[in-house]
């Protein structure tokens, strides 16, 4: 216990290591909180859900905080619904069968930029005759009817896709034209109170009609959204425990098994050692990444299969040669001979005498191996071989790349996962280097 305390004190003598350790600690705490607060299944369901869950958020919108750095704010998303009372709805019976529903969606528009899109989602309940709706746009410039159509039980209407409206607005995209004064030459939004008024005619007794209006902004959430309107925060957050556990399991799995195999080879020597060395040499010639890509392409892209293969290929890695050299030296030390003399069995010597001696060498290499595997997973995901179900940082970068994020200036989409990856790598590297100095006396004081 004291030794551990002393080691920790030694490590914290290096400021860089203190920084690294703090970051790692924060990442781990965060990962635990995320896993507890957002259980895996819930997160996956959200991440895999389509439009019906994410229809309230804009596509590829930048994160909210970009507004802090802008002179003029980008519009945020506005959501008004008659279902939750944020919009008013009055029901007016006209005849015995005919009912008129008047819904009003009033809002103030104070941005210098246009919204991304304006959509209305209808939810109607009727027997045979479809309800008829009329949409009226009330802006500071006046009033105008924008559409008039009958709807199904569930109907969505997007102004940008209404070609009739586009023609009516002299060819400008409707989501922009609706906000400008068409008589003036300036093409910028007019600030002030707006209202979308929907009048619905229900032709049968007992019919109901509700509507939701979404004015999609250009910023959304703390991490922005992707091409499927998903909040990137969920993907980025879940990417953390996935990355950490992948890195840790792979690093532990390979270094510990490598160490044990090297010790077994050295201790039993003879054909056992020969076999292990030959397998290692063959394994070292095999192209690691290509094999992983092949497995990802032809067999399975599951994160756990890739993890298993990464460990399997890593077991007989370079580590074996290095550890073997150290074990050869330890094996000849008098205390091993003494242990043999008092009858300690081979396995007892391997696990109680050989292995503990190498832990000082093992710990730094273990810590620096963690980010290597995190990057490996991210690299495979960027190449399109990421797990199809689990959100990972590499997968987000891959999505961004596939959707031309950089061509369209959606830097946040690439930068957010990259920064997280680099932060993780940096933290482990800082701690790893300091551990190396603490455990390797030759580097001390350098």
């Amino acid at each position: 216990m004291n030794a551990i305390k002393r080691t920790i004190r030694d490590i914290f003598q290096y400021p860089s290591a203190a920084v690294g350790a703090t970051i790692i600690l924060l990442l781990i705490i965060l990962a635990v909180i995320i896993v507890i607060a957002f259980p895996y299944q819930k997160a996956i369901n959200l991440w895999r859900a389509g439009e019906e869950v994410w229809y309230k958020s804009p596509k590829t919108a930048q994160p909210k905080w970009v507004n802090w750095f802008r002179a003029r704010d980008l519009p945020e998303t506005l959501f008004l619904s008659t279902l939750d009372g944020s919009a008013t709805k009055t029901i007016k019976p006209v005849t015995e069968d005919l009912t008129q529903v008047i819904m009003s969606f009033p809002f103030n528009y104070n941005y210098d930029y246009f919204p991304q899109e304006l959509s209305v989602f209808f939810k109607a309940n009727f027997n045979t005759k479809k309800p008829l709706v009329t949409l009226t746009w009330v802006s500071p410039n006046g009033e105008m009817q924008i559409a008039n159509f009958s709807i199904r039980a569930s109907e969505s209407y997007r102004v940008s896709q209404d070609e009739k409206l586009t023609r009516k607005l002299s060819g400008l995209p409707p989501q922009q034209a609706l906000f400008v004064d068409l008589n003036s030459a300036v093409l910028s939004p007019v600030k002030g109170p707006y209202e979308l008024r929907i009048v619905g005619n229900l032709f049968e007794k007992g019919d109901t009609l509700d509507a939701e209006m979404v004015m999609y902004g250009q910023v959304s959430g703390w991490a922005g959204t992707d091409h499927l309107r998903r909040d990137l925060l969920i993907g980025l957050m879940w990417g953390l425990p996935v990355a950490l556990s992948f890195g840790l399991i792979a690093a532990l799995g390979t270094t510990i098994s490598t160490m044990i195999i090297a010790a077994i080879g050295v201790w039993f020597s003879g054909w056992v050692d020969e076999l292990i060395q030959r397998i290692t040499e063959i394994n070292l010639v095999l192209p690691f990444l290509s094999i992983l890509i092949m497995i990802g392409t032809f067999y399975s892209r599951s994160l756990w299969i890739i993890l298993g293969v990464a460990i399997a290929l890593g077991i007989f890695g370079y580590g074996i040669k290095g550890y073997r050299a150290i074990f050869m030296q330890i094996k000849e030390s008098p205390y091993i001979e003494a242990a043999r003399a008092y009858g300690a069995g081979s396995w007892r010597i391997i696990f109680r005498y050989l292995l503990p001696r190498i832990i000082p060498v093992l710990v730094p290499s273990l810590v620096t191996a963690i980010p290597a595997y995190v990057f490996l997973e991210a690299g495979l995901a960027v190449l399109g071989l990421g797990d199809p179900v689990i959100p990972t940082w590499g997968k987000i970068i891959n999505d961004a790349n596939n959707n031309g994020a950089l061509y369209q200036g959606q830097y946040y989409w690439i930068l957010e996962p990259s920064v997280l990856l680099m932060l993780t790598g940096l933290a482990f590297a800082l701690v790893g280097f300091a551990l190396d100095r603490v455990f390797n006396p030759r580097l001390r004081g350098v």
Binding site: S269, P334, Y335, E337, A338, A339, A341, Y342, G343, G345
Partner: protein, 319 residues
């Protein structure tokens, strides 16, 4: 002191190593007896096969063994035909144990010394750890290591203390015979004397016998009941300590004794000219002949051990 049946009887024990140049006759037919509660000192200069003899008795063989033969009879039972596993379970460290050369380095640096001393008990008697530790505590008291040292690591102890821990480790399974391979070399004189006193006390209290391997004639005279002098893998003289230290018989023993510095007297300590012969392809004849001042024609033939009043010596001079 001398029982009818000896504790240990060695008969023509041979241990040859295989090398690229041929077989090395490290132990070339050694025979001697050791009684109960007796200490025999094996003397000889470096490279004469003393440590190999210890290893041959304990069957701690390196991989390049060429010949390993002879008889080792321990408490009336020949242990040579036993399989390695039977030997490990029933003989080594159960009936005879060893304090290895450079005992200070023979402690596992990552085990606490208490656990280290308990290790042979755990390995051999399948004892629970706390029982083994209790036994270790007893042995610590026997060798005079404070009990609060149990929780320390080997590198936190001084050389003398480490040596005591190594001795405690050899005692912990209560064997009848302990082979001490240079237990006091690399220690200062005061600590040497201290360790010797500990060994003497243990011999009496725990009724053990020692094979003490050393080149330190002065210190060994403290403990020895008998002296065996080895030269080039052979026993050249086997004598009781009393008579050996006052009047060694073999010319090599005489010169060995003469090389010990004395406090009083005008005699300069003598040294033996030349080198011990290389142990490959030994020619026939007395192996000491080349360096012997008393060489004569008979020395070209192999000498036999001759009995002179209970002492055995291998020199043509006494035939």
């Amino acid at each position: 002191m001398t029982n009818k049946e000896p504790l240990l009887h060695l008969e023509d024990l041979k241990l040859y190593f295989r090398t690229s140049k041929g077989a090395v006759c490290a132990v070339d037919g050694v025979s001697f007896d050791l009684g109960y509660q007796e200490a025999v000192v094996v003397l000889g200069e470096s490279g004469c096969g003393k440590t190999s003899l210890a290893k041959a008795i304990l069957r701690l063989l390196p991989r390049n063994v060429d010949t390993y033969s002879g008889r080792v009879i321990l408490e009336g039972k020949d242990v040579m035909p036993l399989s390695d596993e039977e030997f490990r379970q029933g003989v080594r460290w159960v009936r005879m144990s060893m304090v290895p050369q450079a005992a200070m380095n023979s402690l596992n640096p990552v085990l606490k010394v208490g656990d280290q001393v308990a290790e042979p008990m755990i390995v051999h008697s399948r004892m629970k750890k706390d029982e083994a530790l209790a036994q270790a505590v007893k042995m610590f008291q026997n060798v005079g290591v404070p009990i609060d040292f149990l929780g320390r690591y080997a590198f936190e102890l001084s050389g003398g203390m480490r040596q005591r821990v190594a001795i405690a480790m050899s005692l912990v399974t209560l064997p009848r015979l302990i082979i001490l391979d240079e237990p006091t070399s690399a220690l200062d004189v005061l600590t040497q004397a201290n360790i010797m006193n500990v060994l003497k006390r243990i011999k009496k209290e725990l009724e053990v016998s020692y094979i003490l391997i050393t080149h330190d004639i002065a210190t060994s005279s403290e403990l020895a009941n008998r002296v065996v002098v080895m030269y080039a893998g052979l026993v050249v003289e086997d004598s009781d300590a009393m008579r050996f230290f006052s009047k060694p018989l073999h010319p090599y023993s005489q010169m060995l004794m003469a090389s010990v510095p004395r406090l009083r007297g005008d005699k300069e300590p003598e040294f033996i000219t030349g080198q011990p012969p290389s142990l490959y392809n030994l020619p026939p004849g007395c192996r000491f002949a080349d360096r012997c001042p008393l060489r004569f024609s008979a020395c070209d033939q192999d000498p036999k051990l001759v009995d002179i009043e209970g002492r055995r010596v291998s020199c043509w001079k006494y035939v």
